[in-house]
């Protein structure tokens, strides 16, 4: 168990490895170790090493603590991942729009149930020379009959002028020409499977027209685009303006749901936005692309319990993890009260022992986070495939979760540190 002989068993960063603490100045000043600060590395490295040696000595306890940290880590990663994936999918349709400015009814809360605005507003914007194109976008929920089972389900129909180039879904260019024919739609291949295996049917049809029933009409699916299901829409299909009106005849032709404005190259969207607000009546809101996406996102975050649910799930994970880490640290202190009291009698300050306990907490955070993050990344892959949600590890989230786990362990450490008060050397003799 000599630390020199045993060195290969230790972590690479463990100070035992080098046989000495990094660059601690040789010229110690005061005998009480407070002289001028001969290196904060020493005042942190030695307690950290003691903490690590103590943790290492009790394998079972160490592993249960690490399991607790990992558990919290995975739970928080999954909750935050789901949350981000759901918000991302909720805004995927709007994110795919390629225009600088948008007109929307001010009372529209979410794009899946828009308040209509007068279509004339679209043409009014063309009064500004900076506005190159004004593309009305129509949205409606229509019924769709699964061609395999006959079951009906509501699907989101998005209608717009394909020529204008205001949308950029993958696959759109390939179907744009075919969509000009009457009663044609393109199906979102990332719709939920309940709508039927349309990609499979299309492939098997081998060029023969694939007819489906939508909105009480027979329409032909001429191709596939990629948009993504969301909270508001289990699936999507797109059509041109004319076909949209045929599928949704009850809609008034003078109304639209959203207008995408494409500006001439070099125009400043902010300036044009300000000008449009001046010239347009109060019945339309003028939003930039980011504002539109943020507006949609805010709806899902604030007007629904979704944000809260995932936040709550994360908090529960952190609390459970904290309790486990606290238990481990507490029992470590309780089991070593005599030894801690002895250290105090030898002249170790309370602050030093606090650093030992906090060091143990932070070692647990670090050692638990790494496998926890790896496991979460693997789970993202598995769960993402099963749920059609865009789950993935992002550096930003990894940093955030590390911060949370770090804070969780630090909080557990701070709670456990109170037990150190029981280590009173006056009661030791």
């Amino acid at each position: 168990m000599n630390e020199i002989a045993a060195a290969p068993k230790l972590l690479p960063w463990a100070p035992e490895r080098t046989g000495e603490v990094p660059p601690a100045a040789a010229g110690g000043l005061a005998p009480d170790g407070r002289g001028g600060g001969p290196g904060w590395t020493r005042s942190l490295a030695l307690p950290l090493r003691l903490a690590w040696r103590q943790l290492r000595a009790e394998r079972a306890r160490l592993f249960s603590a690490l399991a607790g940290v990992m558990f919290a880590c995975v739970l928080v990663f999954m909750q935050l991942g789901f949350r981000a994936a759901l918000f991302e999918s909720a805004t995927s349709l709007l994110s795919a729009m390629r225009a600088e400015l948008f007109l929307m009814h001010p009372l529209t809360t979410a794009s899946f149930r828009p308040e209509p605005l007068p279509r004339a507003r679209a043409f009014q914007t063309l009064a500004l020379p900076e506005v190159a194109q004004a593309v009305p976008v129509y949205m409606a929920q229509v019924s769709w009959r699964n061609p395999e089972t006959g079951a009906r389900r509501m699907i989101q129909l998005v209608g717009f002028d394909m020529e204008a180039g205001a949308m950029r879904f993958p696959g759109l260019e390939a179907v744009a020409e075919a969509l000009k024919r009457p009663d044609t739609v393109a199906f979102d291949l990332r719709s939920r499977p309940e709508f039927g295996d349309i990609p499979g049917l299309l492939a098997r049809a081998g060029g023969a027209p694939l007819k489906v029933e939508a909105g009480n009409r027979e329409v032909e699916v001429v191709g596939l685009v990629e948009i993504g299901a969301s909270f508001g829409a289990d699936g999507n299909m797109i059509a041109n303006e004319v076909n949209f009106r045929r599928l949704v005849p009850q809609r008034r032709a003078s109304n639209t749901d959203l207008v995408a404005l494409r500006l001439v190259p070099g125009a400043d969207p902010r300036a044009v936005q300000a000008r449009l607000r001046e010239i347009l009546p109060r019945d339309v809101a003028v939003l930039t692309h980011e504002e539109l996406v943020a507006h949609e996102r805010r709806y899902w975050e604030e007007a629904t319990p979704i944000g809260f649910i995932f936040g709550f799930g994360s908090a529960m994970g952190l609390i459970v993890g904290m309790v486990i880490v606290y238990q481990i640290l507490f029992s470590d202190i309780a089991a070593h009260l005599r030894e801690y009291a002895t250290l105090k009698a030898m002249g170790y300050s309370d602050g030093y022992l606090v650093r030992v306990v906090m060091g143990a907490a932070l070692i647990l955070a670090g050692l638990g986070f790494v496998p926890g993050a790896a496991l979460s990344a693997a789970l993202y892959g598995l769960v993402g495939e099963a749920t059609y949600l865009p789950l993935g590890m992002t550096p930003g989230r990894a940093v955030l979760v590390f911060g949370l786990i770090f804070a969780m362990c630090a909080a557990a450490g701070l709670l456990a540190v109170r037990k150190l008060r029981d280590a009173n050397p006056a009661d030791m003799f």
Binding site: M1, N2, E3, I4, A5, P15, G19, E20, V21, A24, A25, A26, G27, G28, L29, P31, D32, G33, G35, P38, G39, R42, L46, R53, Q54, R56, A57, E58, H336, R338, E339, A341, T342, L343, K344, A345, M346, G347, Y348, S349, P425, A426, M428, F429
Partner: protein, 247 residues
């Protein structure tokens, strides 16, 4: 060696509890331990020996009187001053209190980790030399669980002396040991302290080890009742007061 006595107590009184429950434990104790002197403190159970030792060891705040330890006045000293003083005192407890997850060498080195001037290599070398001195050079890399009771207490002796303390305080260091290993440990402690000129103040109930002392002080009901030269000067067991022998 310093002229001033390492321990100089004048009129030290101490009481536990407050108000109605206040119980005086020490009453106007005067005690001096000279440079290099080995003083044994005996007395019946509850007479206040441990309390006195914790006051001298700066583990407890003083209430009354004056106590100069290693040149530092403890009356009114704050926690930081007491922590600093503890670093210059070697403690030996009834139980070895070694850290179970550290080897003997690492345990002894713990006494040196507070000295910022030392590097890890020097600490371990000094700890190894100290273990040699207590006859455990071959066991330096064992953890306490692999050592016998007497060996553990010898590691504790090595730890107490490793930091070159100005004073060693011991409270019944042999109480948990059998007769042979207990005697061995205190004689080792005495020899090492003598060779370094370190004074020792040791509480003991064990009449078999009184012969190591220069002086034996008996405490009864919080008062010093008898102080006489120890067997170390006289070559025979000292005349004990009835109270001191009772423990």
């Amino acid at each position: 060696m310093r002229d001033q006595a390492p321990v100089l107590l004048r009129g030290v009184s101490y009481a536990y509890g407050e108000g109605e429950l206040r119980r005086p434990v020490l009453r106007a104790v005067d005690l001096t331990v000279g440079p290099g002197e080995i003083v044994l403190l005996t007395g019946p159970s509850g007479s206040g020996k441990t309390t006195l030792l914790t006051l001298i060891g700066a583990l407890r705040a003083m209430q009354e009187g004056s106590a100069a330890v290693l040149g530092r006045e403890l009356m009114g000293a704050d926690e930081a001053a007491r922590v600093a003083l503890r670093r210059r005192i070697g403690f030996i407890f009834q139980h070895h209190n070694l850290l179970g997850f550290l080897t003997a060498r690492q345990n002894v080195a713990m006494a040196l980790e507070l000295d910022p001037a030392l590097r890890e290599r020097e600490r371990l070398a000094r700890a190894g030399a100290m273990l040699e001195a207590v006859g455990l050079g071959a066991h330096a890399d064992r953890v306490p669980a692999q050592l016998s009771g007497g060996q553990r207490q010898r590691v504790a002796v090595a730890r107490a002396l490793a930091g070159s303390p100005g004073l060693v305080l011991a409270d019944e260091p042999t109480a948990a040991l059998d007769r042979a290993s207990g005697g061995e440990v205190v004689r080792l402690l005495r020899d090492l302290a003598r060779s370094r000129g370190v004074p020792i103040l040791m509480v003991t109930h064990d009449p078999r080890i009184l012969d190591i002392a220069d002086r034996v002080v008996a405490l009864e009901d919080g008062r010093i009742v008898a102080a006489h030269a120890g067997a170390a000067d006289r070559g025979g067991p000292p005349p004990l007061s009835a109270a001191a022998a009772r423990g």
